[in-house]
Symmetry: C2
Subunit: 182 residues, 2 copies
DNA sequence: GAGAACATGTAAGCGGTTACATGATTAT
DNA sequence: ATAATCATGTAACCGCTTACATGTTCTC
């Protein structure tokens, strides 16, 4: 049987503070979004299931100048489940990098196509690296490092990955261009 | 509508030579397996669908000392579909790195747990790096580089990724150990 | 009035894994 | 015998995206 990992992602976020489904998605998009995505089609049904299992409780909150929202709060049982999941070794797969698949089959297309994919990836990663570095600067400014140790570790992964991607794109583009000029 | 990427992966492999479903999985596991996986539950039904669409044809092959096999061969129409897919820009997502998710939530577990995940990842990546480097050496020996240009590019991705992973694991383990000793 | 952001959900339908089911052949 | 490898498939079941559906409030 396969583990529903979305529920643990939601649990982990709720462990920090109570949130609505809508807020959860926003938080995901600007924190773990570069290595973990969730859609509303997953978030809302899973929050419901988590509540049924007693991992979270919800309250309707009235807001001024905004629609009501349903805020979910993790329970003791939810925290225990999260802790148990954190102890289990993470799985490496599934992993599917479509750009590598297209590159791998590059001999069945014109080299210009592979170069174009690489250049697009390169410009994208350069942008992302800039974003990550700015976030890191912000974290460094406003508080003790130890409080954000785990955010910093994952952020550093993103920075290293982007740097590797950039170097690899540049190198590969050069290889392909050299091949073109032959 | 979502694209069935498995079919293009299969198409790309069949573009090099005709193969059975069983052979395809073996090829995947020791070439693109580190960034792309396929299970039999995907391979066989998809080959069938591809045949129905005219992307591939199949013949039953009798073998000596082995069970019969059904070999699939790409058609002209299949090659056209592959070429058209290769031109379309690759998508970055979905991407889900479970180890990062567990690390990100590390503050809800003992630091020892995060360290253990990192050490396990580290030893695994060290092994993988060794494997990749040996493959690269083999490729370098037996033929012209240009023939394997695209394999080399994806392999270099794997090498760079493993190196980044190793550096990141080491750095993160140190950070967490320093935190422990406080 | 239009558009953007806030907010919550459901339904259809494919994607994908895991387990099941079967059987041949070889090596130990 | 029995385990391993070769070989092909199906079925159940959940994962997950996309599209649909609805409604509020604020800003321009």
């Amino acid at each position: 049987m396969k583990e529903n990992k979305s529920q643990f992602a939601l649990l982990g976020l709720l462990a920090d503070r109570a949130m609505s489904g809508y807020e959860i998605q926003k938080i995901i998009n600007n924190s773990i979004g570069f290595f973990w995505q969730e859609s509303f089609g997953q978030i809302y049904p899973n929050l419901k299931k988590m509540e049924e299992k007693g991992w979270a409780g919800s309250v309707q909150i009235e807001q001024e100048g905004r629609p009501d929202k349903k805020v979910f709060k993790i329970t003791k049982s939810g925290r225990e489940e999260l802790a148990a999941w954190l102890k289990r070794p993470p799985e490496k797969f599934p992993l599917r990098l479509e750009i590598l698949l297209k590159l791998f089959f590059g001999n069945h297309a014109k080299p210009e196509i592979s170069i174009q994919h690489l250049e697009s990836e390169l410009s994208n990663e350069v942008k992302m690296l800039e974003v990550y570095k700015n976030i890191k600067k912000e974290i460094g400014k406003c508080s003790h490092e130890s409080q954000n140790l785990y955010s910093l570790i994952t952020l550093d992964y993103g920075i290293g990955l982007a740097e590797h991607n950039i170097a690899w794109c540049k190198k590969s583009i050069q290889k392909l261009k050299k091949e073109l000029s032959k």
